[in-house]
């Protein structure tokens, strides 16, 4: 089984024969190539060209974050799974207004239902989140849909301070994050975006053709679309656990020019818990087999492809347990 590698300290990746090595002051550590699914570079990482071409050949994505934990970009190797049929239909669903609206709404619907589920599970009233659904179904433009997603998210975020027992959330602040919880949300969302991108790489979908977000927004905007659905389950619930179980505390953060940010120790704890969450499994209701949370993202990609092929209308993933 291939795994995600999170490299937090500064160092260098190189190749010797069939092994990738990570080297830093503490020494040289081998990483067998066939165990690598994706690499998250969180420190300052240099990579030899031999290593990068080997990783490319093996289809390994590398996601880069700056030292503040903000996503910077990905090394997305040349794709080996290409289907002209999929790309054409993906574009068709973007270009035809009704088709695009359908998918944009589906992503936001999934996002709203999952936020509501997470709020409810934490003992909160979810009616103000759910009630945004009606206007979603009536929405006539992407801008309107985006607005509804923002309204639902604000209603959802308002509950954070009663869910979180230790740290304060107050309100969403991005760049810079003004407090610890906001720092974790930003970091978690970046990690999730990268995880979605890794899944997209292993399908025939083109990550640049998106529906809710504009394709110009980011190079891989389809990952932004899909990430919306999974934020509540994978990022927000993770933060509730870390905070309420006092795994992450005030001293895991530093105050920088860019606001409050996780320090190295904090990042270490966060990515460990994040990866455990990706690997956590659940019995899939249709497949009748265990699938990991990460795999759920892949299945969402498959559902999209089937939607494009017209065999099954896309219904967003909604937490069913």
């Amino acid at each position: 089984m291939r795994k995600n590698y999170y490299i937090i300290s500064d160092g260098k990746l190189m190749r010797d024969e069939n092994t990738i090595y990570f080297e830093n002051e503490e020494g040289k550590k081998p990483i067998p190539i066939n165990t690598i699914y994706a690499i998250y570079a969180l420190g300052s990482l240099s990579i030899t060209s031999k290593a990068i071409s080997y990783l490319a050949k093996e289809g390994v994505c590398i996601h880069f974050f700056n030292r503040y934990g903000f996503y910077e970009g990905s090394f997305y190797p040349r794709e080996s799974l290409i289907s002209g049929e999929v790309v054409l239909r993906q574009a068709e669903h973007h270009l035809e207004k009704e088709k695009r609206l359908y998918l944009a709404k589906a992503f936001v619907e999934g996002s709203i239902l999952n936020m509501a589920k997470v709020a409810k599970k934490s003992g909160e009233d979810d009616t103000d989140i759910i009630s945004t659904l009606q206007s979603l179904y009536d929405a006539k433009s992407i801008a309107e849909i985006m607005g509804i997603e923002a309204t639902a998210r604000n209603a959802y975020y308002e509950k954070f301070d009663s869910i979180l027992k230790e740290l304060k959330f107050e309100k969403r602040s991005r760049q810079p994050p003004e407090n610890e919880v906001n720092a974790m949300i930003s970091f978690g969302n970046s990690l999730l975006y990268s995880a979605v991108l890794s899944e997209l790489y292993h399908t025939q979908l083109n990550p640049a053709i998106s529906y809710l977000h504009e394709p110009s927004e980011r190079r891989f905007s389809l990952a932004l679309d899909l990430a919306e659905i999974f934020k509540p389950l994978i990022v927000d619930r993770l933060i509730f656990n870390l905070v309420n179980n006092r795994i992450i505390q005030k001293d895991d953060f530093d105050r920088e020019m860019n606001g409050i940010l996780l320090n190295e120790n904090g990042k270490r704890k966060f990515v460990k818990a994040f990866n455990e969450r990706l690997e956590k499994t659940i019995k899939h209701k249709d497949l009748n087999r265990n699938v990991s949370y990460q795999r759920l993202i892949r299945l969402e990609c498959y559902k999209l492809i089937k939607h494009f092929f017209g065999v099954e209308k896309y219904k967003p993933f909604v937490i069913w347990w």
Partner: protein, 164 residues
């Protein structure tokens, strides 16, 4: 040339196994573990033009290609005969393909477990040509809806087909 033989041979096989699988495979929607085309091409190259006899996988079946004098024999060894028809037609297609290049060949599928051997000979071309036509029709249409079969769980497309 060999890639084409591989692709169409696999299509013939899938035609008898599952129309959904045939369609997806043909539209290049392969699951990762199945995309080994390039490696296969070079292996086959060696088979036909080198002297050695070796085990070769062509899509879902595994064959030996033997050269006996001026005749080639394609031998396929199968663990089970569960989709015998698919194997039969796939070998038949290879014979048909080779015949187009004026290469005389015959085929043999053996099922050691059942102590069974099936001889495959290209007697008339109409039979396989009809299958090829049907395949073309399916590919011109929309994706066939997945239907659950006993072997779906072992299929590389299982999650794709049934994840909802």
């Amino acid at each position: 040339m060999l890639d084409e033989m591989y692709v169409r041979g696999t299509q013939v096989n899938y035609y008898f196994v599952c129309k959904t699988k045939l369609w997806l495979f043909s539209k290049n929607v392969s699951m990762e573990q199945e995309s080994d085309l390039v490696k296969l091409g070079s292996l086959l190259q060696r088979q036909f033009f080198g002297r050695e006899e070796k085990d070769v996988s062509i899509g879902p079946i595994s064959i030996d290609v033997l050269r006996r004098g001026d005749e080639i024999e394609i031998v396929e060894v199968k663990k089970s005969d569960s989709i015998e028809k698919a194997d039969y037609y796939q070998v038949l297609y290879y014979l048909y393909y080779l015949s187009k290049f004026g290469i005389k060949a015959k085929g043999r599928i053996s099922y050691p477990k059942k102590k069974k051997v099936v001889e495959v000979r290209l007697e008339e071309e109409g039979e396989i040509e009809e299958v090829l036509e049907r395949i073309a029709e399916i590919l011109a249409g929309e994706m066939p809806k997945p239907e659950y079969k006993s072997y779906c769980r072992k299929c590389a497309y299982f999650e794709f087909c049934f994840c909802g």
